[in-house]
Symmetry: C2
Subunit: 343 residues, 2 copies
Amino acid sequence: MKNKNINMTIYDISEKAGVSIATVSRVLNGSNNVSAKTKEKVLSVVEEYEYTPNLFARGLGINSMNTIGILCVDSSDIFLAKAVYYLEENLREKGYDSILCCSGYNQKNREEYLNLLISKKVDACIMVGSSLVGQTDKENKYIKEAAKKIPIMLLNGYIDAPNIYSIMADDYQAIYQVTNSMYQSGIQDILYYYNSNSYSGRQKLEGFKAAMIANGVEESKQNILYYSGKSEDITAMVAELQEAKKKGIKFQGVIASDDNIALSAVKYARNAKLKVPEELSIVGYNNSFIANCCEPELTSVDNHLEVLCKNLTSTLMDVLAGEKVAPRAVFWGELVKRKTTAF
Amino acid sequence: MKNKNINMTIYDISEKAGVSIATVSRVLNGSNNVSAKTKEKVLSVVEEYEYTPNLFARGLGINSMNTIGILCVDSSDIFLAKAVYYLEENLREKGYDSILCCSGYNQKNREEYLNLLISKKVDACIMVGSSLVGQTDKENKYIKEAAKKIPIMLLNGYIDAPNIYSIMADDYQAIYQVTNSMYQSGIQDILYYYNSNSYSGRQKLEGFKAAMIANGVEESKQNILYYSGKSEDITAMVAELQEAKKKGIKFQGVIASDDNIALSAVKYARNAKLKVPEELSIVGYNNSFIANCCEPELTSVDNHLEVLCKNLTSTLMDVLAGEKVAPRAVFWGELVKRKTTAF
DNA sequence: ATAATAAATGAAAGCGATTACAAAATACAA
DNA sequence: TTGTATTTTGTAATCGCTTTCATTTATTAT
């Protein structure tokens, strides 16, 4: 009754089962050199006393927690939370547990938390949120340093160093295609509205620029607006758009770096009494549930997060199994057309 | 260069510092019976070799990970994700790490994951998401069982059993007040639209019923609509409302059990060409960022999640310190008025 | 039946920390 | 100076498991 298992040790089990602790250990770890009879007896005793091995003692022996660390910038971000959710699920399926750490947008915390995870003896670390990956070598040094100890998986980020593996959506390509389609459909005054300088963010921006240039609009004539406030403050985003308009920037199309930004464009249009999509076309990114919520419903890029996460997990398993693995895999996304675009 | 610290043990440090391992251990654990000189010497060696103690060995001795388990129904739910975020932050401040497990809405998983956390040697477990708490004793047995081993903290749930502590918003009170205010303002045909049978969900529903009864509307004449689909599928929620209307249910006010549901009411109004709030008043719950996104902006109940989480953490610290602690604390929320109500 | 081989089991040595207890060093008092 | 009290340090047992190696038992071939 009173937490039998909590104080049970392998010695107790071995005694009850009438075998040595080595045999018990073998049974529990699935060694095949145990006779069926013995195995059964041991298991029944284990069952009866609800015995669970002590993690620490186990770890001391094999030096692994069977646990993957997940370092996430901000788990209250819809997109990232979803990623964490998928990853946890996939890892569990593979028999791994996960520890989540949320660093916030602060370089010092990142380093600290990554080291924390390592000190917790995680077998690998997944970094979720491309803003974890900096632009300079110096910013990324802590990641490379960590990679000397355990494999690092980057979701939507890339660093060229040993033991670091990247699984990413082709954000460049996605925005390039969207921009191109919009332009070709006749909407030539396009505003690219973004709010992140993360790795993905930079990819998207480059995609936009390249597509515009491919259509003959040189960089100096491109409309690009950067929003630096909080990602939930839609009102502030709208204000920025109005400001831009006042300054004389013209646009019949807005391509946004995420759905929140796109939502602000929808609100802007409503305030300005612009018909969507007739007078203003809007494309979001991430295809989050917001896309379905807003009015009219938002056309948005879906980068197949679930697929990315599944792939990341299986790649990680390969890495842990010691197999050779490509350091980088890129997956294409897809434009989900709804009511804010007509092309 | 090559991961000095990874193989360093307390023995190495003791040797380099010219003291015994016991002394090193004392220094690292802040025992005061060490001379300043020795302490300094040891610390400098520790520093130099970037030594970090082995978690497993340490755990074997003290049998604690200094870690709190967080069991969350669904970390991709905006509200819950925010809770997890606050909790992690607060715990970190107190010197604790956290392991997050997302069980999904499945009873078997819950049990499994809770046990997993315990087997990972967490010092306590926080259960986030009131749908983790069932209605029947049988459903909650696994929690009570777990509470025999470690303290269990419930965020927005209540179970009367030893070693289980509840921190909750007064959902009953909040909905009661809102309903009452709406009714008193002259809107007497109120629809309560909800989507969850969780502990909180039941509290809210009761609050609505009680307020209506207090205003002379007996239960059989109350309008209550339950949505059983996915919490992100706004379109389906709208359809339910239209269905209800068709069936002849009249309402000039909608009180929703969360902001998503409320959002669907806003969409419903737009489709039905009803002016908000003139012809239809709408109140949401949670005051999530959605409230600011939708058009018109949503009046919503804010239950001060941040305060709840802060309080939960400090209560937990008290519990872990062995202090007597009230098994239940209830906090009042607040109605944040925006554009979907006029009262 | 016997030798050779394979399978099953057990004894014991770690893994790297904590901590009770003993011993040594230092401080203080008479 | 000597004895006592106090602080500092070290020795060694312990935590509960994994795993190597030696030993015993079962299986197969001759």
